[in-house]
Amino acid sequence: MTSKIKYCACAAVIALVAMVSCNNDNCMGNSTGIPLAAFYEGDKQISLSDITVYGIGAPNDSAVIRNATASQVYLPLRITEPKCQYVFDYNIDGIENDTITFDYDIIPYFESRECGAMYNFDIKEYSYTQHFIDSIAIPNPSITNSDVVTIKIFM
């Protein structure tokens, strides 16, 4: 009988350790897929001052950033249409605004219980004007909720 009690006590301790060890992961990324664009000069990331970025057709002419200094900017994509355009206004005399156009597939995606359901995007094509932008690189066209730079804009 004593040995039974010992075994049961051991079992209870093991179960307790197991329950304590169960961990809940937190959502480490964004709550949806958003491309993060960063500005580069050569290999070096740079900041642009007094820049305004806004989407064409965004309600109330709202901007993602307005007259701010930024080295990177989130560019949320539309989820009701597979295309959207962003304007980069540098507020520099003699330099016209640049426009970037994205064409993409919208992919419903379940990330995890903690991050939830969202949309990911697969960029099929992109085009841009070259007033101040030299070139754009999108090494990985799959846009997920990972908080990493996905669009490199070279000035």
């Binding site: 179960a15 197991a18 169960c22 965004a58 959207c84 995890s112």
Partner: protein, 289 residues
Amino acid sequence: MKHLATIFCVASLMVALTCATVQAQDQPQRKVTPVKPKTNKTLTPPKGTPEKIINEYLSGDTAQARAQERKDSLAKIYPHYPKLTELSLGLNFGDLLMTAFGQKYTSVDLNATLNMWNRFQPVVVMGLGRAKDTPQDMNFTYSGKLSPYFKLGANYNFLFKNEPRYQLYVGARLGMSAFKYDITNVNINNPYWGEFGNDYEMKGVSSNALWGEFLAGLKVGIAGNWALGWEVKFHGIFKEKKNASGKPWYIPGYGTRNGNWAFGINLYYNIPLNHSHWPVKEQKKKEKK
């Protein structure tokens, strides 16, 4: 001159030997008293020696008797259970129990364990699992449909010298499941573009997974052939189907993909096999006598 020295040495040696002989003859002669063996002593066998061995000694077959004694002695230290010792049928109800405490998924499985030599124990597990959860402050409902799972593996019982009703073991399992799930009531808003109430559903998403488990467990006999068991598992996914729509939250038989620990509680019914070949404890032997 050299000859003279040699003669002197030999003469001295002879004188010394003569003196020693004379002295030895002068001492009294040592007495030798032989010890008479006790012929009436009764040689009794050690306590607990079986009658069969005593009879073998008495009949003069000492070699056979000694061999039997050695075998009995080894059996006490190293009890040898038969190859097919026991078959255990178990019901894992750990998840069912946790569902009562608010867990959002459940599974129940039947397992069969063949206890071989009271050490090695191949195990087969078959079960069903399902999940349903609408997390607070989240934008979806996850419904894992009732799906089967299978596990194959083995245990090693450290208490192989003890009775099979008490076991402390470690084991490994290979599990697999093919299942379907729904993601419904999804609501996504895109405030920047003014896109609200974009609902979608993903129904009947099929997936499968292959995983491995290391476990440690206890098994304790509670009454008659019934026993209870507790297991702690450390598991990881080896391979799973890649879907463009994401990864499942719940895998039947594995649990949720958060964390690597799980535990189980089993109710067993043990069916002894070859019970007549099980080693009998000395105490029980005495009780029988």
